[in-house]
């Protein structure tokens, strides 16, 4: 009990005093996961929409693959990215192993199928005649796609939330490709793992609370956008 009370006290101290190290870690977490989510948003929404709107052989197989990808284990992604960017790996020349860039790549790989899978369902769930209705009002193909994406904005924002939630809380891949280097590639999750391992429960609890707050704030903002009322 003592441990927890102590931890919470310490946590508030760290948060209220804007401890520079903790702030740095928080900021990096937000930057890495935010960037990864943005990348996954572009790739996921465009491919998800394209798959939803076209008919081709093997469409079901592709959808199954995307759905499988939604549950991609972060450590497997971490392993794969590490191999690719290893000094002798195919992308070794980029020299990005143990950098925040590597973490962004790994997290984008984790978030993209999540965003893609939800976007696909979101677009597929629109009324089947809506496409024809929009085209018959004179839309070009790109105008039609844009209207459909706007129409599916609620589930698409849910996709963003799910993607961001997946990567901000992810630790396996970040620690493998980022290396948890102090002041450089240390993020909230990797720091929490390390502090817990060292027995510094107070710091670990503080980082945990910040992580929760961060996830809450981002989702709160997105929910505000999602649930914004239309004029009546």
């Amino acid at each position: 009990m003592e441990l927890i009370v102590q931890g919470i006290k310490k946590a508030f101290e760290l948060i209220v005093s804007f401890d520079p190290e903790v702030m740095g870690i928080t900021w990096l977490s937000l930057k890495v996961s935010g960037t990864a989510t943005l990348i996954s948003l572009f790739i996921g929404v465009s491919i998800g929409t394209a798959v939803a709107l076209t008919n081709f052989r093997g469409k079901r197989l592709v959808i199954s693959l995307i759905n499988t990808g939604m549950g991609l284990p972060p450590v497997v992604v971490g392993l794969f990215v590490t191999i690719m960017i290893w000094r002798n790996g195919p992308l070794g020349f980029m020299e990005i192993l143990y950098t925040p860039y590597a973490m962004i790549i790994a997290q984008a790989i984790i978030a993209t199928p999540i965003v893609m899978g939800i976007s696909l369902v979101a677009i597929q769930n629109l009324p089947p005649n809506l496409r024809l209705q929009i085209l018959s009002l004179g839309a070009s193909r790109s105008q039609m796609v844009w209207v459909l994406i706007k129409e599916a904005r609620l589930p698409l924002l849910a996709a963003v939330m799910a993607g961001f939630g997946g990567v901000i809380s992810e630790v396996g891949a970040s620690i493998m490709v980022g290396g948890n280097i102090k002041g450089y590639s240390r993020v909230l999750t990797t720091a929490t793992v390390m502090e817990t391992g060292k027995g510094n429960f107070d710091v670990a609890i503080a980082l945990g609370i910040i992580l929760l707050l961060l996830a809450f704030l981002v989702n709160f903002l997105l929910t505000q956008i999602q649930q914004r009322q239309h004029p009546r």
Binding site: G138, E151, H230
Partner: protein, 362 residues
């Protein structure tokens, strides 16, 4: 006055999943006319509408819009920009009513002022100005239908294609919408093709009719041709379940009219002025059949009738009666036997003045 052909299709074949869903050798719509497509579900009405809108590419055949082939990309774009489809479902976007109606105009990148002007005009046409700022998702079925119609009219199309526009609306809402649409089509002179399944809607809105079945057009012509001279049993059965008589109002007094039909007088409720040409519509279930002309009867219309034909119709017999005009009546099988009715026998047919539905005939 001979009007030009707005759209014409030739030798069209549309296949879906190996089955032919549309097979039309020739079909055209005159500029400014209102054409009804009628037929049972699955007859190919919606497919024909999509083909006419340029939204569905037939496997075979030619489409000409304003005399030009729609085979090229440019031709198809011209057709798509000039034709607007209104589907059965309103298919409104989750934004305001105003934004929904402005949609097609925004696609055309019109200037802001022009968009506002056109949207306001469309709102006024359909009497929904007060809804402009409402969210489209909060509308009632009838309101949503009006918005989706207004959205199509706002782009000022040359050709408007309506798929079962009045389905799933309650009768009063439907009634006023049909009347408004008739006025709007009359005023705007926009060519329209309407998929309908109701004979009364067809008579009220269209001048021309094409009867469809199994992906084919089996008869087309003016409404009067189709309803009065069906050239096949299918068409007769499809359009002939009710009696529709052409007549002229002779007298009209305090809501009761006397209408002259084929030299006989029919009393009906309504207040058209004398001299007005009308249709008298009678549903077969409202016709009472008896052996002799009854002495005391509340029905105002009693006629001696000769049984021309007896057709078995489920648990009923359908009687084609000749009272100087043709009347269709239903009778249950037991009462038919009780009355000893057979083809050629003379009976009495009566109906109330309130059972006659009177429609304006131009």
């Amino acid at each position: 006055m001979k009007s030009e052909t707005l759209i014409k299709i030739e030798n069209i074949i549309v296949q879906r999943g190996g089955a032919t869903v549309l097979d039309i050798s020739e079909f055209h719509v005159q500029s400014g006319s209102i054409m009804a497509l009628i037929g049972p579900n699955g007859a190919g009405k919606s497919t024909l509408l999509l083909t006419l809108a340029g939204l569905l590419r037939p496997q075979r055949g030619q489409i000409y819009f304003q005399g030009q082939s729609v085979d090229t990309h440019a031709g198809r774009t011209i057709l798509r920009r000039n034709a607007a489809v209104v589907f059965q479902e309103p298919l409104l976007l989750s934004s305001s009513v105003y934004d929904n109606i402005a949609l097609g105009l925004k696609f055309r990148r019109l200037r802001h002022d022009d968009i506002r002007k056109n949207v306001q005009e469309a709102l006024d046409y359909f009497g929904i100005s007060s809804l402009a700022k409402r969210s489209a998702k909060t509308l009632s079925g009838g309101e949503a239908k009006r918005v989706s119609l207004a959205r199509a009219f706002a782009i000022k199309p040359r050709l408007i294609l309506l798929d079962e526009a009045f389905n799933s609306l309650d009768p009063p809402t439907r009634e006023t919408l049909i009347e408004d649409l008739r006025h709007i089509l009359e005023e705007t002179k926009i060519t329209a093709v309407l998929a309908l399944h109701d004979r009364e809607e067809t008579l009220r809105l269209a001048q021309d009719v094409a009867v469809m079945s199994g992906g084919k057009i089996i008869q087309s012509g003016t409404t009067s041709q189709i309803f009065n001279q069906p050239d096949s049993e299918f068409v007769a059965n499809f359009v002939g379940t009710e009696t529709i008589l052409e007549g002229t109002v002779k007298r009209s007094n305090a809501g009761l009219m006397e209408i002259s039909v084929a030299g006989k007088n029919i009393e009906a409720v309504g207040d058209f002025l004398p001299g007005q040409n009308v249709y008298c519509c009678l549903r077969p279930e409202n016709i009472i059949v008896s052996k002799k002309i009854p002495e005391k009867i509340s029905a105002r219309n009693v006629f001696e009738a000769k049984v021309q034909k007896i057709i078995r119709h489920g648990f009923f017999y359908k009687l084609m009666l000749d009272c100087g005009f043709t009347l269709v009546a239903y009778i249950t099988m037991p009462s038919c036997e009780d009355l000893g009715i057979c083809e050629g026998s003379t009976i009495a047919a009566s109906f109330k003045a309130t059972a006659v539905h009177v429609m304006r005939r131009e």
